[in-house]
């Protein structure tokens, strides 16, 4: 008996926090601080998350089945403290793809209407 898979479009549009967390996990599992650092780096400091925002979002994403916890282990680059790692679930990957397509469509429309301004990020998007 096949079970119907949930429709990823019911989750979108995603909040910026959720989108960036999913994006950060797209290339492999990470712990909370590493997720935050990747988001900060990818957005050039425009998006920073405190522990409350990050773990509140992680809690809701775990409940929605977008991500899952993987094994706790230390990050030897930081210290020997055991950290909780998270990875993208299959459903989370489909939701991320759906959201990325939606945003890409929005960027195409903005480009068509010459709505992209002269900032660094928008110049990168335009190329």
């Amino acid at each position: 008996m096949s079970t119907a898979q949930p429709d990823p479009n019911q989750e979108i549009p995603l909040t910026p926090a959720v989108f960036h967390i999913l994006l950060a996990l797209a290339d492999g599992e990470k712990h909370g601080y590493a997720i935050m650092k990747e988001i900060e780096s990818a957005t050039e400091g425009a998006v920073t998350m405190g522990p409350g925002t990050l773990y509140g979002s992680i809690k809701r994403m775990l409940k929605a089945g977008l991500i899952r916890e993987s094994q706790e282990r230390p990050d030897l680059e930081l210290d020997d403290e055991r950290r909780r790692y998270y990875e993208l679930a299959g459903y989370g990957r489909r939701v991320l793809e759906a959201e990325a397509r939606r945003l890409a469509q929005a960027v195409r429309m903005a480009r068509r209407k010459n709505a992209l301004g002269g900032s660094t990020i928008t110049r990168r998007l335009a190329t």
Binding site: Y33, P51, G52, Y55, E81
Partner: protein
């Protein structure tokens, strides 16, 4: 452990316990990592500013989500639930009493009909106090219509008896049938204090009957009306019904409790009403936690002690009409009377709590013993 980390651990206590249990350590680890980076970059102040904003914005949200997950009502429904009980306060104090009663009665009747037709679906919480109020009015109107009497203060009739007797019969039957001993003891306490008050007042006057029977009558009526709801809503339903029904009646029937701004004893009555109608139901939302139950019990206790026992003698002695002519005997008499009144209210609240408190094991309402499905 650094001072910053100690402070952050204290701030974490603003989050719900469940959330702290699950995510407390990762959040502390995360903060420690941020702290290490901030010390390196010299941005400690910026980190603390962001952290305080982070806690201030996320802790309340986690509490709301935690409350939703614990099967309590969402906050919009809660606010709607207490609004009908507050409605009598919005009526102009100069309005004729019959006018007010008719308006309230019409609104309540309409909502009762709505509530009945929604019986198949779980009624929303906002229906509860209105149903309690409407039921109370229905009992009163029924008896007064039967007697051909439109005046609320029948000259020779102590009106609390009218609803005390049927309410007492309903509740007593349930208690004896199901052997709820603690509730029986409290029920007895409630009733036995009434003759004491009656004797103190002097059994000859109608006012004595009214004063003696008012509190237990209202509480028992509210408890009886709350029984159908307690099976579904437990303590929350009982408190909503009790608070709204009692104080709505008080404000529409008892002229001494009508709002007259500028007279501060009546402002105190207003405060007491807001406490009963608003704050206690809100605390009852957390009745599933030990802290919530404790607060839901302590607050009426404090309110009763303050408004009925402590303040009246102070008001009396501070009044310009009695300054310099303090009658100690009168002050003591009022204090004793109000203490008995306070004991009745407290016994009533404890009675309601003992009827409708959820058991510790699985949040199964004790009212399942009363034959209602939880």
């Amino acid at each position: 452990m650094s001072i910053s980390e100690r402070i952050y651990r204290l701030l974490l206590r603003l989050y719900p316990r469940q959330h702290r249990r699950h995510y407390g350590e990762p959040m502390i680890t995360h903060f420690r990592d941020q702290l290490r980076e901030a010390h390196r970059d010299g941005t400690l102040l910026t980190l603390w500013l962001r952290t305080l904003i982070d806690v201030a914005t996320t802790a309340p949200r986690e509490h709301v989500e935690s409350a939703r997950m614990r099967n309590v009502y969402p906050w919009p429904e809660v606010l709607l639930a207490i609004l009908p009980g507050v409605l009598p306060l919005l009526l102009p104090p100069q309005a004729d009493r019959i006018e007010r009663l008719v308006l309230l009665g019409l609104a309540a009747t309409y909502l009762v009909v709505l509530g009945v037709y929604r019986k198949r679906n779980r009624p929303t919480a906002w229906v509860l106090p209105v149903l309690g109020l409407a039921g109370t009015y229905a009992v009163l109107w029924g008896f007064f219509l039967l007697l051909g009497e439109w005046r609320w203060f029948g000259e020779n009739l102590p009106y609390p008896l009218i609803y005390l007797l049927p309410a007492a019969v309903v509740v007593l039957t349930k208690l004896i049938h199901h052997g709820n001993r603690p509730a029986l003891v409290l029920f007895g306490t409630l009733l036995l204090t009434s003759p004491g008050l009656l004797l103190w007042q002097g059994a000859g006057s109608r006012a004595a009957y009214t004063a003696a029977l008012e509190a237990p009558a209202l509480i028992l009526l509210a408890a009886a009306l709350g029984l159908p709801f307690a099976g579904r809503y437990g303590l929350l339903g009982a408190l909503f019904v009790a608070g709204s029904a009692q104080w709505a009646i008080e404000f529409t029937i008892d002229p001494s409790l009508q709002i007259r701004f500028g007279t501060w004893p009546h402002l105190l009555s207003l405060l007491n009403t807001v406490t009963t109608l608003v704050i206690i139901p809100l605390l009852a939302l957390r009745a599933q936690s030990g802290r919530g139950r404790t607060l839901a019990i302590l607050l009426p206790l404090a309110t009763c002690l303050l408004f009925l026992v402590v303040l009246p003698p102070l008001v009396y002695t501070a009044s310009p009409y009695t300054a310099g002519h303090v009658d100690i005997a009168a002050v003591l008499e009022e204090a004793v009377r109000n203490t008995i009144y306070a004991a009745q209210i407290l016994a009533g609240m404890a009675f309601v709590l003992s009827l409708y408190s959820r058991s510790r094991q699985g949040n199964v309402a004790v009212t399942s013993q009363l034959g209602h499905q939880p």
